[in-house]
Symmetry: C2
Subunit: 235 residues, 2 copies
Amino acid sequence: MSVVIPEIYNVHTPLLVAVDCIIFGFNECELKLLLVKRQMEPARGEWSLMGGFLGEHESLDEAAARILNQLTGLTDVYLDQLYAHSDPDRDPGARVISVSYYALIKISQHNQELAKEHDAEWFKLSEIPKLIFDHNLMVDMALQLLRKQAKTKPVGFELLPEKFTLPQLQALYEAIYQKELDRRNFRKNVLSMGMLEKLDEKDKTGSRKGAWLYRFNISKYESFRNQGFFFNVSV
Amino acid sequence: MSVVIPEIYNVHTPLLVAVDCIIFGFNECELKLLLVKRQMEPARGEWSLMGGFLGEHESLDEAAARILNQLTGLTDVYLDQLYAHSDPDRDPGARVISVSYYALIKISQHNQELAKEHDAEWFKLSEIPKLIFDHNLMVDMALQLLRKQAKTKPVGFELLPEKFTLPQLQALYEAIYQKELDRRNFRKNVLSMGMLEKLDEKDKTGSRKGAWLYRFNISKYESFRNQGFFFNVSV
DNA sequence: GTCATTAAATGTACGATGTACACTTAATTT
DNA sequence: AAATTAAGTGTACATCGTACATTTAATGAC
């Protein structure tokens, strides 16, 4: 395969550019990661992040959204560019630069058929296997970013279902920071932000008494997301 | 020019990858940016960030350091990867992805001869001209990152000379945030961190009375830099 | 040499925020 | 009806952030 590079660019080695997605989900009080069994050489059959090559007329953001959609069937997912990984030897098959993207999805909404086709599985954070290339590093960086963002953006809400209980929200934060939080302070803080709307339903799966369901006030959410804010949870 | 891509990679268009550096400096109580007049087509002669293509056996970090060194003569500069810019039409000459890097240098230390050779000039932030392609966007993103980092990392010290006065440090923060700060609170906060060592010299260029010179306690600096900390300046 | 000028240096009081902590309530199961 | 389980609630204290005015050191002008 040969490719013509315009002469004005004095370049000897054009590069391949890939995108890899670190896909976070949350259920059963655990933060989880969606991993696939790699279907191409090199390292076929090993655990890997979901990835793919950048298309000819695509931005990296578009590529990441496309690749995420291939695996989950979801659109409009929370995606953030994380880092461009460029060690010349990171991929033994060729010189490939990979830009990692960090995705937050609602586990219940993704397409399980598609996941099966890709040999994908959810892993608890504590049970992440050895991944190909520098993918474990990407996961570490993504987790760091998640911890940073969870303080200043309402990222939690990307991971929970539409309706959720305060104990669930607290469990999410406890999973992100691997730290127990005080119930009273947590509730005081999140409620004081005015982003939550209490519903007239209870979720009784978690206890006999049942916990009130809340949902998210979208307009408050948007204004917080744009202005930047401090998510008032002490960790 | 033709390039062979391993067949195992089902890719049609390899890409060019460039690096662009947003170079910050500080003097005369102003935050400044080092810009060059572009020496290649397209857009020859227009103002631009210093950039270059990624070499065959180089990581992006190495490329950024090399490119920064070409312009300034400096090594061991504070450099952070900022973002991979990938709009398919961002460079009208070819499909080029550019990874921006953000650099903090001490203005007094850079090589002015080299700068002259590249037609480089320092611009006050308020006087940044129209730049090529998406470079103004890169500058905006870099400034945002600087503002974020200045709260959580001692980045200020990359921009000041070895010995500096507290009024200088304060002026730097005022320039970064475009906001006047209270002298007493500022001093109390920065001194309470224990990162500064008071010297037995005064700098008398700024006033009759003269201001005490300080320098930076490297070991405290390193431990803060690694652990992450909160730079205790209210802005 | 005294006075005026300039910027540097210093401390405190008040309000806001963060943080620790224990009992009651609702519903189910035995 | 008694026991169990998780949900829900308020207060007191410490820490931190923030506003604010006067004194000090040195030089230059008269």
